[in-house]
Amino acid sequence: MQILEQAQDLPTAGNIKAQWVSLWTGPAVGAVLLVAAIAFPGFWPPMSPTMSADQVAAFYADHTAWIRASQVTFNLCGILIVPFLSLIVVQMKRMRQTHVFAYCYLTAMVSGATIFALSNVFFLVAAFRPGRNPELIQLLNDLAWIVFIAPIGMVVSQFVLLALAVYFDDQEHPVFPKWVGHFSLIIAAAMVPAAGAAVFQTGPLAWDGLWSFWVRNGAYALFVIVMFFVLRKAIQRQAVDDGVISA
Protein backbone atom coordinates (compact mmCIF):
# COMPACT_ATOMS: atom_id res chain seq x y z
CA MET A 1 0.00 0.00 0.00
CA GLN A 2 1.71 3.12 -1.23
CA ILE A 3 0.60 6.19 0.68
CA LEU A 4 0.43 9.41 -1.32
CA GLU A 5 3.08 11.94 -0.43
CA GLN A 6 0.69 14.78 0.29
CA ALA A 7 -1.36 12.62 2.66
CA GLN A 8 1.50 11.13 4.65
CA ASP A 9 1.21 13.21 7.80
CA LEU A 10 -2.57 13.46 7.89
CA PRO A 11 -4.68 11.64 10.52
CA THR A 12 -6.52 9.90 7.68
CA ALA A 13 -3.24 8.28 6.65
CA GLY A 14 -2.49 7.37 10.26
CA ASN A 15 -5.88 5.70 10.48
CA ILE A 16 -5.26 3.65 7.33
CA LYS A 17 -1.75 2.68 8.41
CA ALA A 18 -3.09 1.53 11.79
CA GLN A 19 -5.80 -0.53 10.12
CA TRP A 20 -3.36 -2.01 7.62
CA VAL A 21 -0.97 -3.16 10.37
CA SER A 22 -3.90 -4.62 12.33
CA LEU A 23 -5.09 -6.40 9.18
CA TRP A 24 -1.81 -8.21 8.69
CA THR A 25 -1.61 -9.30 12.33
CA GLY A 26 -4.51 -11.56 11.32
CA PRO A 27 -2.57 -13.95 9.07
CA ALA A 28 0.54 -13.71 11.26
CA VAL A 29 -1.34 -14.71 14.40
CA GLY A 30 -3.44 -17.21 12.47
CA ALA A 31 -0.33 -19.01 11.24
CA VAL A 32 1.10 -19.24 14.77
CA LEU A 33 -2.20 -20.50 16.20
CA LEU A 34 -2.50 -23.06 13.40
CA VAL A 35 0.95 -24.43 14.24
CA ALA A 36 0.01 -24.54 17.94
CA ALA A 37 -3.24 -26.36 17.12
CA ILE A 38 -1.35 -28.92 15.05
CA ALA A 39 1.15 -29.34 17.88
CA PHE A 40 -1.45 -29.85 20.61
CA PRO A 41 -1.67 -33.62 21.18
CA GLY A 42 -5.22 -33.32 22.51
CA PHE A 43 -6.61 -32.47 19.07
CA TRP A 44 -5.29 -35.47 17.09
CA PRO A 45 -7.75 -37.04 17.58
CA PRO A 46 -9.70 -34.76 19.91
CA MET A 47 -9.66 -36.21 23.44
CA SER A 48 -12.76 -38.24 24.18
CA PRO A 49 -15.13 -37.17 26.99
CA THR A 50 -15.45 -40.85 27.83
CA MET A 51 -11.83 -41.19 28.93
CA SER A 52 -11.56 -42.26 32.55
CA ALA A 53 -9.76 -40.12 35.09
CA ASP A 54 -6.72 -42.39 34.98
CA GLN A 55 -6.64 -42.26 31.19
CA VAL A 56 -6.82 -38.46 31.22
CA ALA A 57 -4.02 -38.24 33.80
CA ALA A 58 -1.93 -40.69 31.77
CA PHE A 59 -2.51 -38.65 28.62
CA TYR A 60 -1.29 -35.49 30.33
CA ALA A 61 1.69 -37.36 31.77
CA ASP A 62 2.65 -38.90 28.42
CA HIS A 63 2.44 -35.69 26.42
CA THR A 64 3.31 -33.06 29.03
CA ALA A 65 5.95 -31.20 27.04
CA TRP A 66 3.89 -30.82 23.86
CA ILE A 67 0.68 -30.01 25.76
CA ARG A 68 2.44 -27.26 27.67
CA ALA A 69 4.26 -25.84 24.64
CA SER A 70 1.16 -25.67 22.44
CA GLN A 71 -1.15 -24.34 25.15
CA VAL A 72 1.41 -21.74 26.19
CA THR A 73 1.41 -20.60 22.57
CA PHE A 74 -2.39 -20.35 22.65
CA ASN A 75 -2.09 -18.40 25.89
CA LEU A 76 0.47 -15.97 24.52
CA CYS A 77 -0.98 -15.51 21.03
CA GLY A 78 -4.68 -16.33 21.17
CA ILE A 79 -5.88 -12.90 22.25
CA LEU A 80 -3.61 -11.30 19.63
CA ILE A 81 -6.53 -11.79 17.27
CA VAL A 82 -8.31 -8.90 19.02
CA PRO A 83 -6.59 -6.16 16.97
CA PHE A 84 -7.70 -7.93 13.78
CA LEU A 85 -11.31 -8.25 14.98
CA SER A 86 -11.26 -4.60 16.08
CA LEU A 87 -11.11 -3.78 12.36
CA ILE A 88 -14.64 -5.08 12.01
CA VAL A 89 -15.71 -2.61 14.70
CA VAL A 90 -14.00 0.25 12.89
CA GLN A 91 -15.56 -0.67 9.55
CA MET A 92 -18.99 -1.12 11.10
CA LYS A 93 -18.76 2.45 12.32
CA ARG A 94 -18.47 3.56 8.68
CA MET A 95 -21.75 1.93 7.73
CA ARG A 96 -24.91 3.91 7.15
CA GLN A 97 -26.42 3.59 10.65
CA THR A 98 -25.62 4.69 14.18
CA HIS A 99 -22.71 3.09 15.98
CA VAL A 100 -24.81 0.95 18.25
CA PHE A 101 -24.11 -2.35 16.45
CA ALA A 102 -20.40 -1.59 16.40
CA TYR A 103 -20.26 -1.16 20.20
CA CYS A 104 -22.40 -4.22 20.78
CA TYR A 105 -20.00 -6.12 18.53
CA LEU A 106 -16.98 -4.82 20.46
CA THR A 107 -18.51 -5.97 23.74
CA ALA A 108 -19.36 -9.41 22.36
CA MET A 109 -15.93 -9.80 20.81
CA VAL A 110 -14.17 -9.02 24.08
CA SER A 111 -16.35 -11.40 26.07
CA GLY A 112 -15.87 -14.17 23.53
CA ALA A 113 -12.11 -13.74 23.68
CA THR A 114 -12.23 -13.86 27.50
CA ILE A 115 -13.92 -17.26 27.36
CA PHE A 116 -11.15 -18.60 25.12
CA ALA A 117 -8.48 -17.22 27.46
CA LEU A 118 -10.17 -18.97 30.38
CA SER A 119 -10.26 -22.40 28.70
CA ASN A 120 -6.59 -22.04 28.00
CA VAL A 121 -5.73 -21.46 31.67
CA PHE A 122 -7.59 -24.67 32.59
CA PHE A 123 -5.56 -26.74 30.09
CA LEU A 124 -2.33 -25.34 31.45
CA VAL A 125 -3.21 -25.94 35.10
CA ALA A 126 -4.21 -29.52 34.21
CA ALA A 127 -0.73 -30.03 32.77
CA PHE A 128 1.12 -28.27 35.60
CA ARG A 129 1.40 -31.03 38.24
CA PRO A 130 1.52 -34.52 36.71
CA GLY A 131 1.33 -35.98 40.21
CA ARG A 132 -2.06 -34.45 40.96
CA ASN A 133 -4.99 -36.74 41.77
CA PRO A 134 -6.31 -38.02 38.39
CA GLU A 135 -9.88 -37.07 39.29
CA LEU A 136 -8.79 -33.45 39.69
CA ILE A 137 -6.89 -33.54 36.38
CA GLN A 138 -10.07 -34.87 34.78
CA LEU A 139 -12.04 -32.06 36.43
CA LEU A 140 -9.71 -29.44 35.00
CA ASN A 141 -9.71 -31.17 31.61
CA ASP A 142 -13.53 -31.20 31.59
CA LEU A 143 -13.64 -27.51 32.47
CA ALA A 144 -11.07 -26.73 29.77
CA TRP A 145 -12.92 -28.56 26.99
CA ILE A 146 -16.39 -27.42 27.96
CA VAL A 147 -15.28 -23.80 28.20
CA PHE A 148 -13.35 -24.09 24.94
CA ILE A 149 -16.15 -25.61 22.83
CA ALA A 150 -19.58 -24.97 24.35
CA PRO A 151 -20.05 -21.22 25.12
CA ILE A 152 -20.74 -20.00 21.60
CA GLY A 153 -23.23 -17.30 22.60
CA MET A 154 -20.89 -14.34 22.37
CA VAL A 155 -19.52 -15.51 19.03
CA VAL A 156 -23.07 -16.02 17.70
CA SER A 157 -23.93 -12.47 18.79
CA GLN A 158 -20.95 -11.19 16.85
CA PHE A 159 -22.14 -12.88 13.66
CA VAL A 160 -25.74 -11.72 14.09
CA LEU A 161 -24.64 -8.13 14.75
CA LEU A 162 -22.34 -8.15 11.73
CA ALA A 163 -25.13 -9.48 9.53
CA LEU A 164 -27.59 -6.87 10.78
CA ALA A 165 -25.08 -4.08 10.27
CA VAL A 166 -24.39 -5.25 6.70
CA TYR A 167 -28.12 -5.48 5.92
CA PHE A 168 -28.79 -2.01 7.36
CA ASP A 169 -25.89 -0.49 5.40
CA ASP A 170 -27.87 0.66 2.37
CA GLN A 171 -25.64 3.15 0.67
CA GLU A 172 -24.48 3.16 -2.92
CA HIS A 173 -21.12 1.58 -2.04
CA PRO A 174 -21.71 -0.43 1.13
CA VAL A 175 -18.69 -1.06 3.35
CA PHE A 176 -19.07 -4.84 3.04
CA PRO A 177 -20.90 -6.67 0.24
CA LYS A 178 -24.30 -8.08 1.17
CA TRP A 179 -23.14 -11.71 0.97
CA VAL A 180 -21.01 -11.08 4.07
CA GLY A 181 -24.28 -10.83 6.00
CA HIS A 182 -25.58 -14.16 4.69
CA PHE A 183 -22.17 -15.74 5.30
CA SER A 184 -22.11 -14.54 8.91
CA LEU A 185 -25.50 -16.05 9.64
CA ILE A 186 -24.51 -19.38 8.09
CA ILE A 187 -21.36 -19.49 10.25
CA ALA A 188 -23.44 -18.64 13.32
CA ALA A 189 -25.87 -21.46 12.54
CA ALA A 190 -22.96 -23.86 12.07
CA MET A 191 -21.57 -22.99 15.49
CA VAL A 192 -24.76 -23.00 17.57
CA PRO A 193 -25.03 -26.80 18.04
CA ALA A 194 -21.60 -26.86 19.71
CA ALA A 195 -23.38 -25.84 22.93
CA GLY A 196 -24.29 -29.51 23.14
CA ALA A 197 -20.71 -30.28 24.12
CA ALA A 198 -21.64 -29.29 27.65
CA VAL A 199 -24.19 -32.12 27.76
CA PHE A 200 -23.25 -34.98 25.44
CA GLN A 201 -20.35 -37.36 25.98
CA THR A 202 -20.64 -39.22 22.68
CA GLY A 203 -21.87 -38.46 19.24
CA PRO A 204 -21.38 -35.51 16.88
CA LEU A 205 -22.26 -32.92 19.53
CA ALA A 206 -19.75 -34.12 22.12
CA TRP A 207 -16.67 -31.94 22.38
CA ASP A 208 -14.71 -34.39 20.23
CA GLY A 209 -17.58 -34.90 17.80
CA LEU A 210 -17.75 -34.09 14.13
CA TRP A 211 -20.00 -31.08 14.66
CA SER A 212 -18.85 -29.60 17.97
CA PHE A 213 -15.16 -29.89 17.19
CA TRP A 214 -14.51 -29.99 13.48
CA VAL A 215 -17.45 -28.01 12.08
CA ARG A 216 -17.45 -25.46 14.90
CA ASN A 217 -13.74 -24.70 14.73
CA GLY A 218 -13.51 -25.04 10.96
CA ALA A 219 -16.39 -22.59 10.53
CA TYR A 220 -14.73 -20.00 12.75
CA ALA A 221 -11.38 -20.38 10.99
CA LEU A 222 -13.14 -20.00 7.63
CA PHE A 223 -14.81 -16.81 8.86
CA VAL A 224 -11.48 -15.28 9.90
CA ILE A 225 -9.84 -16.20 6.58
CA VAL A 226 -12.73 -14.80 4.52
CA MET A 227 -12.91 -11.62 6.60
CA PHE A 228 -9.21 -11.00 5.95
CA PHE A 229 -9.98 -10.55 2.27
CA VAL A 230 -13.20 -8.63 2.88
CA LEU A 231 -11.48 -6.26 5.31
CA ARG A 232 -8.50 -5.79 3.01
CA LYS A 233 -10.78 -4.65 0.23
CA ALA A 234 -12.77 -2.38 2.55
CA ILE A 235 -9.65 -0.71 3.94
CA GLN A 236 -8.25 -0.19 0.44
CA ARG A 237 -11.49 1.43 -0.61
CA GLN A 238 -11.53 3.60 2.47
CA ALA A 239 -7.96 4.66 1.68
CA VAL A 240 -8.99 5.70 -1.82
CA ASP A 241 -12.11 7.51 -0.57
CA ASP A 242 -10.10 9.39 2.06
CA GLY A 243 -7.48 10.43 -0.48
CA VAL A 244 -4.71 8.47 1.17
CA ILE A 245 -3.78 6.28 -1.82
CA SER A 246 -4.44 6.68 -5.50
CA ALA A 247 -7.29 4.66 -7.03
Partner: protein, 240 residues
Protein backbone atom coordinates in the same frame (compact mmCIF):
# COMPACT_ATOMS: atom_id res chain seq x y z
CA UNK B 1 -20.24 30.18 32.15
CA UNK B 2 -17.72 27.86 33.78
CA UNK B 3 -14.06 28.70 33.43
CA UNK B 4 -13.03 25.10 34.04
CA UNK B 5 -11.62 23.38 30.97
CA UNK B 6 -13.80 20.77 29.35
CA UNK B 7 -11.37 18.02 30.22
CA UNK B 8 -11.82 18.12 34.00
CA UNK B 9 -13.41 14.65 33.66
CA UNK B 10 -10.03 13.49 32.31
CA UNK B 11 -8.37 15.00 35.37
CA UNK B 12 -10.71 13.09 37.69
CA UNK B 13 -9.69 9.83 35.96
CA UNK B 14 -6.02 10.84 35.85
CA UNK B 15 -5.96 11.26 39.63
CA UNK B 16 -8.02 8.12 40.15
CA UNK B 17 -5.48 6.03 38.22
CA UNK B 18 -2.58 6.09 40.73
CA UNK B 19 -4.99 6.09 43.68
CA UNK B 20 -6.61 2.86 42.49
CA UNK B 21 -3.29 1.20 41.76
CA UNK B 22 -2.03 2.18 45.22
CA UNK B 23 -5.02 0.47 46.86
CA UNK B 24 -4.65 -2.49 44.48
CA UNK B 25 -0.98 -2.72 45.48
CA UNK B 26 -1.84 -2.79 49.18
CA UNK B 27 -4.42 -5.51 48.53
CA UNK B 28 -2.18 -7.80 46.50
CA UNK B 29 1.01 -7.25 48.47
CA UNK B 30 0.07 -6.71 52.08
CA UNK B 31 -3.36 -8.24 52.52
CA UNK B 32 -3.79 -11.19 50.18
CA UNK B 33 -0.07 -12.01 49.76
CA UNK B 34 -0.31 -12.95 46.08
CA UNK B 35 2.46 -10.52 45.20
CA UNK B 36 5.17 -11.62 45.77
CA UNK B 37 3.60 -15.00 45.13
CA UNK B 38 3.63 -17.95 47.50
CA UNK B 39 5.79 -20.83 46.31
CA UNK B 40 4.72 -23.36 43.68
CA UNK B 41 6.98 -26.09 45.08
CA UNK B 42 5.13 -26.82 48.30
CA UNK B 43 2.92 -29.70 49.38
CA UNK B 44 -0.86 -29.55 49.62
CA UNK B 45 -0.54 -29.42 53.41
CA UNK B 46 1.70 -26.36 53.17
CA UNK B 47 -0.81 -24.66 50.87
CA UNK B 48 -3.56 -25.32 53.43
CA UNK B 49 -1.27 -23.77 56.03
CA UNK B 50 -0.79 -20.72 53.80
CA UNK B 51 -4.54 -20.18 53.58
CA UNK B 52 -4.88 -20.74 57.33
CA UNK B 53 -2.11 -18.26 58.15
CA UNK B 54 -3.50 -15.47 55.97
CA UNK B 55 -7.16 -16.39 56.25
CA UNK B 56 -8.43 -13.10 57.60
CA UNK B 57 -6.39 -10.76 55.40
CA UNK B 58 -7.17 -12.81 52.27
CA UNK B 59 -10.88 -12.48 52.97
CA UNK B 60 -10.66 -8.78 53.77
CA UNK B 61 -8.33 -7.97 50.87
CA UNK B 62 -10.11 -9.87 48.13
CA UNK B 63 -13.60 -8.89 49.29
CA UNK B 64 -12.42 -5.30 49.13
CA UNK B 65 -11.15 -6.02 45.63
CA UNK B 66 -14.54 -7.45 44.65
CA UNK B 67 -15.97 -4.04 45.49
CA UNK B 68 -13.18 -2.03 43.88
CA UNK B 69 -12.42 -4.14 40.82
CA UNK B 70 -14.51 -1.85 38.64
CA UNK B 71 -11.66 0.58 38.98
CA UNK B 72 -9.75 -1.51 36.44
CA UNK B 73 -12.36 -0.53 33.86
CA UNK B 74 -11.70 3.11 34.64
CA UNK B 75 -7.91 2.89 34.46
CA UNK B 76 -8.10 0.99 31.16
CA UNK B 77 -10.69 3.40 29.77
CA UNK B 78 -8.46 6.38 30.51
CA UNK B 79 -5.57 4.94 28.51
CA UNK B 80 -8.03 4.11 25.71
CA UNK B 81 -9.11 7.77 25.73
CA UNK B 82 -5.50 8.89 25.32
CA UNK B 83 -5.00 6.42 22.45
CA UNK B 84 -8.02 7.93 20.74
CA UNK B 85 -6.32 11.34 20.93
CA UNK B 86 -3.50 9.95 18.79
CA UNK B 87 -3.52 10.39 15.03
CA UNK B 88 -4.14 6.70 14.34
CA UNK B 89 -7.90 6.40 14.41
CA UNK B 90 -9.77 4.09 16.75
CA UNK B 91 -8.64 0.60 15.84
CA UNK B 92 -5.80 0.49 18.39
CA UNK B 93 -8.01 1.98 21.09
CA UNK B 94 -10.46 -0.88 20.61
CA UNK B 95 -7.57 -3.34 20.57
CA UNK B 96 -6.34 -1.95 23.89
CA UNK B 97 -9.79 -2.11 25.48
CA UNK B 98 -10.15 -5.61 24.10
CA UNK B 99 -6.84 -6.90 25.39
CA UNK B 100 -7.11 -5.36 28.85
CA UNK B 101 -10.77 -6.29 29.29
CA UNK B 102 -10.06 -9.91 28.49
CA UNK B 103 -7.22 -9.74 31.00
CA UNK B 104 -9.48 -8.64 33.85
CA UNK B 105 -11.10 -12.06 34.21
CA UNK B 106 -8.28 -14.58 34.10
CA UNK B 107 -5.82 -11.89 35.15
CA UNK B 108 -7.06 -11.00 38.59
CA UNK B 109 -10.70 -11.94 39.04
CA UNK B 110 -9.97 -15.66 38.87
CA UNK B 111 -7.34 -15.56 41.62
CA UNK B 112 -9.73 -13.45 43.69
CA UNK B 113 -12.52 -16.01 43.55
CA UNK B 114 -10.21 -19.04 43.78
CA UNK B 115 -8.55 -17.78 46.94
CA UNK B 116 -11.85 -16.66 48.46
CA UNK B 117 -13.29 -20.09 47.69
CA UNK B 118 -10.29 -21.77 49.29
CA UNK B 119 -10.68 -19.61 52.37
CA UNK B 120 -14.44 -20.22 52.40
CA UNK B 121 -14.19 -23.84 53.62
CA UNK B 122 -10.72 -24.23 55.12
CA UNK B 123 -11.38 -27.85 56.08
CA UNK B 124 -11.87 -28.96 52.48
CA UNK B 125 -9.81 -31.88 51.14
CA UNK B 126 -6.23 -30.50 50.86
CA UNK B 127 -5.96 -31.66 47.25
CA UNK B 128 -8.88 -29.41 46.34
CA UNK B 129 -7.28 -26.48 48.17
CA UNK B 130 -4.09 -27.22 46.23
CA UNK B 131 -6.03 -27.06 42.96
CA UNK B 132 -7.53 -23.67 43.85
CA UNK B 133 -4.08 -22.40 44.83
CA UNK B 134 -2.52 -23.51 41.53
CA UNK B 135 -5.44 -22.25 39.44
CA UNK B 136 -5.36 -18.88 41.18
CA UNK B 137 -1.61 -18.36 40.92
CA UNK B 138 -1.18 -19.64 37.36
CA UNK B 139 -4.02 -17.51 36.04
CA UNK B 140 -2.87 -14.41 37.96
CA UNK B 141 0.78 -14.63 36.92
CA UNK B 142 0.26 -16.52 33.68
CA UNK B 143 -2.41 -14.62 31.77
CA UNK B 144 -0.17 -13.47 29.01
CA UNK B 145 -1.80 -13.02 25.62
CA UNK B 146 -4.38 -10.49 26.68
CA UNK B 147 -1.79 -8.08 28.01
CA UNK B 148 0.59 -8.83 25.13
CA UNK B 149 -2.13 -7.75 22.70
CA UNK B 150 -2.81 -4.55 24.66
CA UNK B 151 0.88 -3.60 24.98
CA UNK B 152 1.47 -4.35 21.30
CA UNK B 153 -1.27 -2.07 20.01
CA UNK B 154 -0.26 0.61 22.52
CA UNK B 155 3.36 0.46 21.30
CA UNK B 156 2.44 0.61 17.61
CA UNK B 157 -0.06 3.41 18.25
CA UNK B 158 2.58 5.50 20.02
CA UNK B 159 5.12 4.89 17.25
CA UNK B 160 2.63 5.91 14.53
CA UNK B 161 1.19 8.85 16.46
CA UNK B 162 1.88 12.37 15.11
CA UNK B 163 0.07 14.13 17.94
CA UNK B 164 2.80 13.19 20.44
CA UNK B 165 0.35 12.15 23.12
CA UNK B 166 2.97 9.84 24.66
CA UNK B 167 6.73 9.98 23.96
CA UNK B 168 8.23 7.32 21.72
CA UNK B 169 10.33 5.81 24.51
CA UNK B 170 7.16 4.67 26.23
CA UNK B 171 6.42 2.51 23.20
CA UNK B 172 9.75 0.77 23.80
CA UNK B 173 8.95 0.32 27.52
CA UNK B 174 5.67 -1.31 26.44
CA UNK B 175 7.64 -3.65 24.20
CA UNK B 176 9.78 -4.61 27.23
CA UNK B 177 6.50 -5.58 28.89
CA UNK B 178 5.75 -7.88 25.96
CA UNK B 179 9.16 -9.53 26.38
CA UNK B 180 8.43 -10.22 30.05
CA UNK B 181 5.14 -11.85 29.01
CA UNK B 182 7.02 -14.11 26.60
CA UNK B 183 9.48 -15.12 29.32
CA UNK B 184 6.60 -15.73 31.74
CA UNK B 185 5.47 -18.63 29.54
CA UNK B 186 8.15 -20.66 31.30
CA UNK B 187 6.25 -20.64 34.60
CA UNK B 188 3.91 -23.32 33.27
CA UNK B 189 6.90 -25.64 33.03
CA UNK B 190 8.98 -24.96 36.16
CA UNK B 191 7.72 -25.39 39.73
CA UNK B 192 10.97 -23.93 41.06
CA UNK B 193 13.99 -21.97 39.98
CA UNK B 194 14.44 -18.72 38.09
CA UNK B 195 11.50 -19.36 35.74
CA UNK B 196 8.86 -20.48 38.23
CA UNK B 197 5.91 -18.18 38.95
CA UNK B 198 7.94 -16.82 41.89
CA UNK B 199 11.31 -17.01 40.13
CA UNK B 200 13.89 -14.26 39.90
CA UNK B 201 13.48 -13.91 36.13
CA UNK B 202 9.84 -14.86 35.54
CA UNK B 203 8.59 -12.85 38.50
CA UNK B 204 11.01 -10.43 40.18
CA UNK B 205 12.66 -8.96 37.10
CA UNK B 206 9.23 -8.81 35.44
CA UNK B 207 7.81 -6.91 38.42
CA UNK B 208 10.64 -4.37 38.15
CA UNK B 209 9.86 -3.81 34.47
CA UNK B 210 6.14 -3.58 35.23
CA UNK B 211 6.77 -0.99 37.94
CA UNK B 212 8.79 1.09 35.48
CA UNK B 213 5.97 0.80 32.92
CA UNK B 214 3.25 1.70 35.42
CA UNK B 215 5.23 4.54 36.98
CA UNK B 216 5.98 6.00 33.56
CA UNK B 217 2.35 5.65 32.51
CA UNK B 218 1.11 7.50 35.61
CA UNK B 219 3.50 10.38 34.89
CA UNK B 220 2.67 10.43 31.18
CA UNK B 221 -1.09 10.37 31.76
CA UNK B 222 -0.71 13.43 33.91
CA UNK B 223 1.45 15.14 31.30
CA UNK B 224 -1.08 14.32 28.57
CA UNK B 225 -3.93 15.79 30.64
CA UNK B 226 -1.86 18.93 31.25
CA UNK B 227 -1.18 19.34 27.54
CA UNK B 228 -4.85 18.85 26.78
CA UNK B 229 -5.84 21.45 29.39
CA UNK B 230 -3.26 23.89 28.02
CA UNK B 231 -4.64 23.49 24.50
CA UNK B 232 -8.19 23.96 25.76
CA UNK B 233 -7.26 27.10 27.70
CA UNK B 234 -5.51 28.54 24.67
CA UNK B 235 -8.59 27.85 22.56
CA UNK B 236 -10.88 29.43 25.15
CA UNK B 237 -8.71 32.53 25.26
CA UNK B 238 -8.56 32.72 21.45
CA UNK B 239 -12.34 32.44 21.27
CA UNK B 240 -12.86 35.50 23.48
Amino acid sequence: MSTATRNRDVWWMTWFFPAWYAVFGVIICLLTRVTPPPRPDVTAAEKVAFFAQHHLTIQIGFTLLLILLGGAAMTNGLVCYQIKRMSVGSVFAYGYIGGMSVGALPGFLLVTVCFLTAAYRPDRNPELISLLYDLGMLSYNGSLGCFTAAYLVLAIAILYDRNEVFPKWFAYVSIWQIITEVIATQMFVFPSGAFAWNGSIAFWLAVVVFSVWLGALIVLLRRAAEEESAKESAQMVAAQ
